[in-house]
């Protein structure tokens, strides 16, 4: 029943797209019609999709296995929370969620853009409807969430247990808010370009969307890596896995855009560059969906894939790319106000440098992710591109990037000198000596590390002092930059000071290393609703005699029948203690991995700090 309503609502929603398109074209110059007719229509469209989405959720809650999507991804014994989150934990449901956010955002866009020019609003709506129609067709044709199966099965196949997790339940919606936000930027940039409407006011108005999408995208990525940290069970949080890279690429583009849009707003420079970035950001978000859903990439994160779906997104994606290429080159006119617009030492230059490096990082990730696909198609050679590649190409370039990031905010628009030179030098000397001291005391590669750590400290101290001295002035930027330096520091110290023990233990065994003694006390068995759990109790004693109890868990889910290992994590301000245990084939012992990971919490906190920078500038008047 709910499925049927959902399906019909979806069809009505698709039809309303056509009606909206028709009305927008005939009323292109009639301002009254827009607010009176078209906005209610987009609201209606949103309601249709919402009803459809609700229909799917209800089918999931009611475990209506006559619905194919529910049958494939749910099970009666699953807790209610995961029944609901299971709605978007699969291909069909996640697309419906995309569509829901798409229709919601265009409605909000129309509401929030009342002071903009009418043609601009209508054209943006039209571009957005093209995307929306694409998604409707995609959903209805290749991935309908409301397929009926008969005879009706008694029981569903269940949701993959590693997806039954609170962080992962909200990860996709948050990420999609970010992705879909970029579609608004895309449509708006294209229509502003074709109407020659790019102005400081436009920049100011679209900036809100840029920041909103960026905040959601960042949070989405953060949630994903937190999930990977505790659920994939190895204590890592970023694996440079293709699926992760695919979310990082639009993030780079969007971060660049955030900086550029400021230049456009203040100085009306870099018009075409902003347009290119807007197109790039959305294209990368869409390519991400394509690459993930088509199954081209070989990743830890498995997704069901189907070549027909891949083909559809591919054609849709490239239609959008060619459409935007056409519009860009057709309406593109060179900016003419370069002359003497700014000096070499100015905020503009530093933002350009930021852009330059950001684009470089983006290209590293892009090439690294796509190269194996190209090589395979062209020469059928198969290679892997993993963390070492990204580290080698990105880390050395961080040094000049950090310098520009430190000095840049101190510069003024157009032309400036550096004030407070002595301060800058003193801080630099402090950072350098601090970093050399740290590096000398450790047996790690000397040169690159000491310079890198010095520059990170430099950024850290300068933005911290700015934050403390200037307080409200430039608060957002200082927060974000400080957060970034803190983020890099935490990552570096985390990787240098991490410590781990891997061993095999039976109940009652004790493992003794130089630093700790691990005693396997007992193994307790428990029966839960949808899984059986084995909880180990370990007592860890370090050299100073402090003891710690760790209780990692093994779960055997009944539907589907999968064993997962749940890490036990003790989070402290300075270190995380992390323990997992795993079954070993046909042995009595369990494989134990105990890790000490310093500054883990700071990695998450620093990202939140960066996000809070974005929030502040979003709400600042």
């Amino acid at each position: 029943m709910a499925s049927l309503i959902g399906f019909n609502a979806l069809i009505f929603g698709a039809c309303s797209s056509l009606v909206i398109g028709f009305f927008s074209v005939i009323n292109f110059r009639n301002p009254k019609k827009l607010d009176k007719k078209i906005i209610p229509l987009t609201f209606l469209q949103f309601i249709f999709v919402f009803v459809s989405f609700l229909g799917l959720i209800i089918s999931f809650i009611a475990s209506d296995f006559s619905n194919e999507t529910v049958f494939n991804n749910s099970h009666t014994t699953k807790p209610l929370f995961y029944k609901i989150s299971g709605t978007w934990g699969n291909h069909e449901g996640s697309l419906l969620l995309w569509l829901l956010v798409l229709t919601l955002f265009i409605f909000l866009f129309l509401l929030k853009s009342r002071e903009q020019k009418l043609e601009y609003r209508l054209l943006t709506l039209l571009f957005q409807q093209i995307i929306i129609i694409g998604f409707f067709v995609f959903l209805l044709k290749t991935s309908s969430p409301f397929n009926y199966i008969y005879p009706i099965p008694d029981e569903g196949l269940g949701l993959n247990p590693i997806l039954q997790d609170p962080a992962l339940a909200i990860h996709p919606p948050v990420l999609y808010l970010g992705y879909v936000g970029t579609s608004i930027i895309f449509s708006s940039a294209l229509s502003a370009m074709s109407l020659n409407y790019i102005s400081k006011e436009w920049a100011k108005h679209i900036k809100v969307w840029v920041f909103t999408s960026w905040i959601f995208l960042t949070l989405g990525i953060l949630l994903g890596s937190i999930w990977a940290y505790y659920e994939l069970g190895w204590g890592g949080f970023w694996f440079w896995d293709p699926v992760e890279n695919v979310s990082l690429m639009p993030w780079f583009a969007l971060t660049t855009l955030i900086h550029c849009i400021l230049v456009l707003e203040k100085r009306l420079l870099l018009k075409s560059w902003v347009i290119i970035l807007s197109i790039t950001t959305f294209t990368l978000s869409m390519s991400g969906t394509f690459l993930v859903r088509s199954g081209i990439l070989n990743s830890v994160h498995t997704f069901a894939n189907d070549p027909e779906r891949g083909l559809f997104i591919l054609i849709f994606l490239f239609s959008l790319i060619f459409l935007s290429l056409f519009i860009f080159f057709f309406f593109h006119n060179r900016e003419t106000v370069y002359q003497n617009s700014f000096s070499l030492l100015s905020k503009e230059t530093s933002i350009l440098i930021n852009n330059w490096f950001m684009m470089y990082f983006l290209s590293v990730v892009l090439v690294g992710t796509l190269y194996p696909i190209f090589l395979d198609v062209i020469s059928s050679e198969k290679i892997s591109v993993g963390p070492p590649f990204y580290h080698k190409l990105i880390v050395p370039f961080l040094i000049p990037f950090l310098l520009a990031m430190t000095i840049g905010p101190k510069l003024k628009w157009i032309k400036s000198g550096l004030s407070n030179k002595i301060n800058l030098i003193i801080f630099f000397i402090i950072s350098l000596s601090l970093s050399i001291f740290i590096v000398v005391n450790l047996e790690i590669k000397f040169l690159l590390n000491s310079i890198l750590i010095a520059f990170i400290f430099y950024l850290f101290f300068i933005s911290l002092s700015d934050l403390l001295v200037k307080r409200l002035n430039n608060l957002a930027q200082n927060m974000a930059h400080l957060g970034f330096s803190l983020f890099l520091l935490s990552i570096i110290f985390n990787s240098i000071f991490s410590n781990e023990v891997i061993t095999n233990l039976k109940v009652g065994d004790t493992f003794q290393s130089e630093k700790f003694k691990i005693h396997f006390e007992n193994l307790e068995q428990k029966k839960e609703k949808n899984f059986e759990s084995f909880i180990g109790k370990f007592i860890i004693e370090n050299t100073t005699g402090d003891t710690e109890i760790m209780m990692p868990e093994l779960r055997i889910y009944n539907q589907p029948n999968i064993a997962t290992s749940e890490a036990f994590i003790k989070t402290n301000i300075f270190t995380d203690k992390f323990m997992t245990m795993n079954l070993v084939q046909n042995k009595e012992y369990l494989n134990i991995r105990y890790q000490i990971k310093p500054f883990m919490l700071w990695i998450w906190l620093s990202i939140l700090m960066i996000v809070s920078g974005g929030l502040i500038s979003l709400f600042k008047k």
Partner: protein, 121 residues
């Protein structure tokens, strides 16, 4: 100079963690560089499959036999193909992989230079 206080705190934390056994580090460095063939996408270090566990043991043995990091990579490449290495060698197949980003970096710099710096003079 209140920062010094923080600096000392940081130093204190660092001095708590000292001296890692070098072998262990090399072992995990190598396993982090290898891609697991069973759950493709994870490194051998991160993986807990039977294959990965055996491979970890094998690498330990090979290191004890005195093989160098490079020899181990070569050995595994012969067995499983270049795919197993996460760090692709610079060679005929990977010129573009390594050079394209750097090339794009130079092009980007050139564009900025041409548009914003030369035009002004």
């Amino acid at each position: 100079m209140k920062y010094f206080k923080y600096i000392f705190i940081i130093f204190f934390i660092f001095s708590l963690h000292q001296g890692h056994s070098q072998d262990n580090k090399l072992e995990s460095k190598i396993t982090k560089n290898l891609r697991c063939l069973v759950c493709q996408g994870q490194s051998v270090y991160d993986s807990d499959t039977e294959f990965a566990n055996s491979l970890k043991l094998l690498i330990k043995n090979k290191l004890d036999e005195g093989l160098s990091e490079k020899q181990i990579y070569f050995y595994l490449k012969e067995k499983y193909g270049e795919w197993i290495l996460f760090d692709p060698e610079f060679g005929k197949k990977t010129y573009f992989l390594w050079l394209l980003p750097l090339l794009l970096f130079l092009i980007g710099g050139a564009i900025i230079f041409k548009l914003f710096i030369i035009k002004k003079n």
